[in-house]
Amino acid sequence: MPAATVTAPSTTEAHESATERPERTLIAASREGDLSAFDELVRRYQSRIYATIYHMTSNREDADDLAQETFLKAFKALKSFKGDSSFYTWVYRIAINKTINFLKQRRRKSAQLSLNEMDLSGEGQGHILEFISEHTPRRDVRLHELQAKLNEAMQKLSEVHRLVVTLHDIQGMPHEEIGKIMDCNTGTVRSRLFYARQQLQGHLSDYLKQ
């Protein structure tokens, strides 16, 4: 059974089209205080930043607040951005540091589900239906219950392991990019991913049986 090739709706968000201003231009204008340029930067990356924070916190309100805090800090620290890495990686680091600090301060276990708020239109709906009809071990299991168990299992992971799973398995980011964001090598990323998957399989063993 070939793995379903799922493309996240937001992966094309960061690609600059011909009509969009280049990222360097936007950064330089934002440094000069041009809020419209920074607004364009925010709109370019907010979906992925929000999704990462949401999958880490499993809480929509917390993801809202942390995403706003991330971009606020990015704007204030924009003058210190030297361009060693891409702006996207730099903002991601800010978001992840803020999220991990938040999770350490408030160990919440309220895995608030948002499956009822999912965008079930178009491509996403087809993949979900395919998954349910072919791979659900118990036919009577409800999709909400499965997603609840997955979120619960995600929350049992440590912050770094949850982050690796979020960035790689959910958002489809390559190991090298994750290593840059987490400031570690790809071997560490792979080992953390392997361990996190093992933990998730242990928590979801009843639902993943054939």
């Binding site: 059974m1 793995a3 799922v6 809020l35 607004d39 925010v42 907010q46 949401y54 799973v165 998730l200």
Partner: protein, 193 residues
Amino acid sequence: MSKPSHQTGSLEKLLQLKRWETPPPEHLDRISSRVIARIEADQAVPQETLWSRLCDFLDFKPVLACSYSAAAMGLLVFGLGMKDQVKPPPHWGQQGLPAPSHRTGIQLTGVPLQTETNEKAASFRLPSSANLWRSGVPVGSGSVHRSIQPVVQTSLSSPMSHPLGAPLLQHSRPSGFNPASSRPTAIPARFEP
């Protein structure tokens, strides 16, 4: 063997489903608009200086301001009172060691002691590097002396440059000096003009 790999595939697909857990587009638009609004609000607020914040704080608590000012005045009066009571030593600021320079010379004049302890006085062998003088005559390096009376002569210039070799500063033998000791004790410097 195929069970774990199949479970891994199922898990990956299950995780990929979370990609569609996205909020509606208008919700994301609210994030950007709120970020810009907060930036504008931060920029609209003028940056307060430390002095203005201190003034605001003291205006808010006048009792605290009065107590601070009373404490400051008390410290000022106490300091002025202590200033009159504390007097410096009589020779304060009039004497002192000259600044070290290569032209500064120290002349030691060795005088045999006329006491009984002189008989038991230890002998000193001067090192070859010692630049010592006895009564205006340089003491030869390596010579053996039974005792040296520590009369210290210090001048700003070389001792040989003085026409009479008279010491500019000279002090007598201190009480702490014990010539019977095999090792000369530390001599407290006490200069007389």
